[in-house]
């Protein structure tokens, strides 16, 4: 308890320091969130805590972090480690702080504002904190209390230029530091936008990235949302995605996660208008002693909506992955069509996945299916390939890439698809099946 209180004192101190420089528009929100954090702390108790049953938050909670440090980066270095393209709007944030925008073309009606700014119009700031319910979640409360910078992306009605907004959150890897990225995306009726969120960098001892993204999908609007995590073994990354979909809206999410020290993405999609849909797909791979937790909840509030959840995991070394969360079909949500699937390829006898997708259905006229699998490659498959002259190593690569390709091939931005197929996948552990 002694340690816990000294850690809390450190957060209090940082909070006071930040309050003097943070913009006034967010002070109420931040103060309330800090109150909640003081009250509930980190979710370190796991007994009876379904949300954190398979992930131990204790190592993250036990570090005394300092925040606010930031050294300017050469953006050319970033271009080597994160996907970007000159036709995209690329925004670089270093340790949670905005540094610069680089791109070839900026002509768009999409408005991108900076949360750090003091003089933001109320219509921009009023939605910040509107979806993220932090009342029972210490990490989300902490992010909200400490948010100081991040993009507010406002897509006007009818905007459909196909522009890609690429957000790069680079973690400089300064030991024992924490950063709090925050994103807000709101889309007007009948608009289409693609946003990529990258969480990259790391190394150093125990860096912690604690992020929250809130996304409003307007009527007849489509949001294509990509989230990449490419950090290091010493990094803790706990992120939240909170999504609300209006009538006829579509939210398409593609997640690509390498494992890190402890990684977790808590995605919650609330389908609040009729005839709306969400398609959530993801690929995670873990190696060494990494840990990756996907906690995904879909709430079907209204009738005639669809949700698809399709995730795949590749696990090597002694790593561990968790896939949890529920699809809730409320009583009013008749004619819901929902499919959940999580498939895992286990490359090592020491790796482990806890895959527990669940369905709660309170409506009586719905079509729902779910399933989870975990397996290794069978000997027949490998012999078939070898009998064609392909050796074990090449066969392993074809199988692993093939497994991952089912998710990567569906990425609709060509430059991102090739980045994922080349740079991201090449960081897979080289593996040889033993037969």
């Amino acid at each position: 308890m002694q340690k816990a209180s000294s850690l809390l004192n450190k957060y209090e101190e940082d909070f006071d320091n930040l309050s003097s420089i943070n913009p006034g528009w967010s002070s109420d929100l931040r103060n309330k969130a800090m109150d909640t954090f003081r009250e509930i702390g980190f979710p370190v108790r796991r007994k009876g805590n379904e949300k954190w049953k398979y992930t131990n938050a204790r190592p993250i909670a036990d570090v005394e972090y300092s925040s606010g440090k930031f050294e300017k980066m050469d953006s050319n270095d970033i271009k080597l480690i994160a996907p970007w393209h000159e036709s995209w709007i690329n925004l670089l944030f270093v340790n949670g702080h905005y540094q610069e925008t680089f791109s070839g073309s900026l002509s768009t009606n999409i408005q991108i504002s900076n949360m750090a700014s003091n003089d933001l119009a109320e219509n921009l700031t009023s939605n910040v904190g509107g979806i993220m319910d932090y009342s029972d979640d210490g990490f989300a409360a902490l992010n909200t209390a400490f948010m100081s910078d991040g993009p507010i992306i406002t897509v006007p009605e009818g905007e459909n230029s196909g522009i890609v907004i690429n957000l790069i959150f680079f973690n400089q890897g300064l030991s024992d530091t924490v950063n709090y990225p925050r994103v807000l995306i709101t889309t007007g009726g009948n608009s289409i936008v693609s946003v990529i969120e990258n969480y990259v960098g790391g190394s150093g001892d125990q860096t912690f990235t604690n992020s929250v993204s809130e996304i409003y999908v307007g009527e007849d609007a489509t949001v294509n949302h990509y989230r990449l995590m490419n950090e290091t073994d010493d990094t803790y990354d706990v992120g939240y995605g909170r999504v609300r979909i209006d009538t006829n809206g579509a939210f398409n999410s593609r997640s690509f996660f390498r494992g890190c020290g402890i990684g977790r993405y808590d995605l919650n999609v609330s389908i609040e208008g009729e005839n709306a849909s969400c398609d959530l797909q993801g690929l995670y791979f873990t190696n060494g002693a990494q840990h990756m937790d996907n906690f995904i909840n879909i709430d079907h509030v209204r009738p005639n909506c669809q949700s698809n959840l399709f995730y795949k995991g590749i696990l090597a070394g002694r790593s561990r992955a968790v896939f949890g969360g529920t699809v809730l079909v409320r009583k009013e949500a008749q004619k819901t069509n929902s499919v959940q699937s999580d498939k895992n390829l286990i490359l090592s006898p020491h790796a482990e996945v806890d895959s527990k997708p669940a369905l709660f259905i309170y409506a009586d006229d719905v079509k729902c299916a779910h399933g989870a699998t975990a397996g290794n490659i069978d000997a027949d498959t490998v012999f078939y390939m070898r009998s064609r002259g392909i050796d074990l190593e090449a066969a392993s690569r074809l199988i692993i890439y093939g497994f991952a390709g089912e998710i990567i091939d569906k990425v609709e931005i060509p430059e991102l698809r090739s980045y994922l197929g080349e740079s991201f996948l090449s960081s897979l552990p080289s593996h040889r099946f033993e037969f």
Partner: protein, 260 residues
């Protein structure tokens, strides 16, 4: 023993699977340009023979030898055997989800070419070759983009095996019950593919339960395998005789072994 005319010589081969002896002393020589058929009832060991030659793990050679192009291959890895020209058309071709047919076949052909000191095939040349073989086997044009064998019918899978035979152009083709589950059209296409493959430098070993495929691919020799032993060998007329009289007939005459 050194007969330079032979492509493969199987010498008193005893093989067990999980402690059970399946092949109990097989002697079989296949010369260049020859087509041999191994016929036999279920469980006689004929598929085991084809798989042992291809190097499938899980089979233990207790004694005897398999000499291919003059060298024993018992210790040779299956991929090296493949690169040396041994091809097995599977009885149950395997589905490879996510592995595109194009990539799979390009990897295979390049692995074989690398082993033989040749450069990797240029993409354009490979595409041309693959398209030619696809047409030969009357496969769906979409094939190259699809995952290997995924969602194929039994007949399509077998045609895809022979497409691979045509593309990889080995020296020895082992056809493990390729005819089973084929309708008459598919049987005609598959047989056509094998007949085009046949040449004075290439040999074929057909493993089959039924005589039907031998109406399309005429064997030079037919061997009858019963309970792990070749009990009778003869010309193509032996297949006819088997069809008429059934396997019980050979079982009754076990003892009168005839070797070519």
């Amino acid at each position: 023993m050194s007969n330079s005319q032979k492509l493969i010589e199987i010498k008193d081969l005893h093989v067990s699977v999980a402690e059970t002896e399946i092949l109990k002393g097989i002697n079989l020589s296949i010369g260049f340009g020859e087509v041999h058929a191994i016929m036999g009832p279920n469980g006689s060991g004929k598929s085991t023979l084809a798989n042992v030659i291809a190097g499938r793990p899980g089979y233990s050679v207790i004694s005897g030898d398999i000499v291919y192009k003059g060298s024993s291959i018992l210790e040779v890895l299956p991929e090296i055997r493949a690169r040396a020209g041994i091809f097995l058309a599977f009885q149950y071709p395997v589905e490879l989800p996510g592995v595109r047919t194009w990539q799979f076949l390009k990897s295979a052909i390049d692995a074989i070419r690398n082993e033989n000191g040749q450069e990797e095939l240029k993409i354009r040349d490979f595409d041309k070759l693959l398209e030619e073989k696809r047409k030969l086997m009357e496969m769906d044009p979409d094939l190259v983009r699809r995952s290997v064998n995924e969602g194929y019918s039994g007949g399509e899978k077998k045609r895809n095996e022979i497409l691979q035979l045509a593309l990889l152009d080995p020296t020895l083709a082992l056809l493990d019950e390729t005819d089973s589950g084929l309708d008459i059209d598919a049987l005609r296409i598959v047989s056509h593919g094998v007949n085009i493959f046949k040449s004075p430098e290439k040999s074929v070993l057909i493993v089959t339960h039924y005589q039907r495929i031998l109406d399309y691919i005429t064997p030079d020799y037919v061997h009858v395998l019963v309970d792990g032993k070749i009990v009778r060998s003869g010309g193509s007329s032996l297949a006819m005789e088997l069809e008429e009289k059934g396997y019980d007939w050979v079982k009754d005459v076990v003892g009168e072994e005839v070797n070519p």
